[in-house]
Structure formats: C-alpha cells, structure tokens
Amino acid sequence: MEAIGRETELLFQLLRATSLRAQVIAGNVANQNTPGYTRRTVHFEEKLREALLAGRGGELGVEPEIALDKATPARPDGNNVTLEVELNAMRENRLLYEAYTTILGGHYELLRSSIKDGN
C-alpha cells in the first residue's frame, strides 16, 4: 500500500506542476503583444530529479517555481514571446499531463481490482 501512496503523491505533484505550466503558457500567449513583457517558464522536473537523486524522500517537498526567461532575445518592443514556442510548449505539456493522468488512472484501476479480489 505504501508504495502506491508515495507514487500517487509524486504523480499529483507532477500534475500540479503541469497545470501550473499550462497556466503560465496561457499567460504568455495572452501577453504576446504586451510591450516589455518577459515570458515565464516553470521549473519543476529538474528540481525533482535533483531531490530524487539526493534520496531521503525530499522530493515530496519540491514545489514548482515560476521564473522569467531572460535568455530568449526580445523583439524591438521588449517582448520575447514567440507564438510557435508557446504553442509547442502547450502541446508538450498537455501530452505530459495525459501521460500522468493515464498512469494515475492505472493506479486507481489496480486499487479497484485488488479491492474486488478481496471480496
């Protein structure tokens, strides 16, 4: 039971991070014509990997973080949102979300069948 609990908790975290990222991408797309706007990104997976490599269950405390992307060059109006980049990020993020929900669904399916078998 504990193995399932810990893994679902991780999946919840990943879902939270991808949901936040979707919101951030939507904000970038909405601001594609706002002069001086700097696009935002969400850092989570790399922080999670570090925590997982460090061990001791610290990964459960990892929180997604919104950061300004200052590396992408800006247009003359000071805005650095590229529509293609955002739409691609949105697609990629959605696929990740679907993958996590599918895995989570599998966990619930497992739980359901084990409850049934117990009867």
Partner: protein, 143 residues
Amino acid sequence: MSGIEKLFSGMRASSTGLAAERVRMDVIAENIANAQTTRTPEGGPYRRKIVRFEPLLLEAAGRPFETLGVRPSAVEADRLTPFGILHEPGHPDADARGFVRYPNVNTVMEMTDLITAMRAYEANLAVQQGFFQMAERALQLAR
C-alpha cells in the same frame, strides 16, 4: 489536489487574451472606418487610436511572476504620427490656403495590425482548447 484550479485560471488567462485582442480589433476597425474623417467633435481630423496592453500580475499575493492574463489598460490617441496634408481648395474642411488635414491612419498598417490581432486571437483560442482537453482527462480519472 492535482492543480485543477490552475487549469481554470489558465482558461481565464486565455479568455483575457481573447478579450484584449477583440478590443484591439475593434479599435483597428474604428481607425479604418475613420481613415477619411476630416472633422471630429474635438476639432481637427480623426486621430488614430492605439490600445495599450498590460499583464495582469499576482504581485500582491507575493507571487511576482505569476500572470493571470492580459488587460487592455488604455486606448490612447496617436499624437506622434503626423496628419496627412492634401491640397484640396474645394473641400469644406480646407484651411485658408486650401490645405486639408487627413487622419494619421495608414490603412495598410492597420490591416497588418489586424492580421496580428487575429492570429493572436486564434492562438489564445488554441490554448484554451488545450485546457478543455486537459480538464477532460482529469475528469476521466473519476469515472
């Protein structure tokens, strides 16, 4: 919680983008419609209008980079682009020397702006569609 509330605030962010681009399209339409208006209640020819966009930030809540979308903060008159001046002595709005001042609207420029606004509108719509699909997936878990 798996962050479904973030999906909803993302949907709302896309809506603000749609609304803002619509305001921009309305202003562009007004500019084009008034491209030949030589007399206005304020006096002088029509001045081209520009929409200013501002991000909706969550700074107050201690989350400085979190955006809730965009808002058209102001519609301002373009005071930098000069009026077009034509010599038309017979025009009712001609001055003593026969010159008529025409609005500072460049229809070609307005049309390109309109295309960007339309593309931006479509992009916001596409992102919003993505949220519906994600929410759909989340709901499937409960089935």
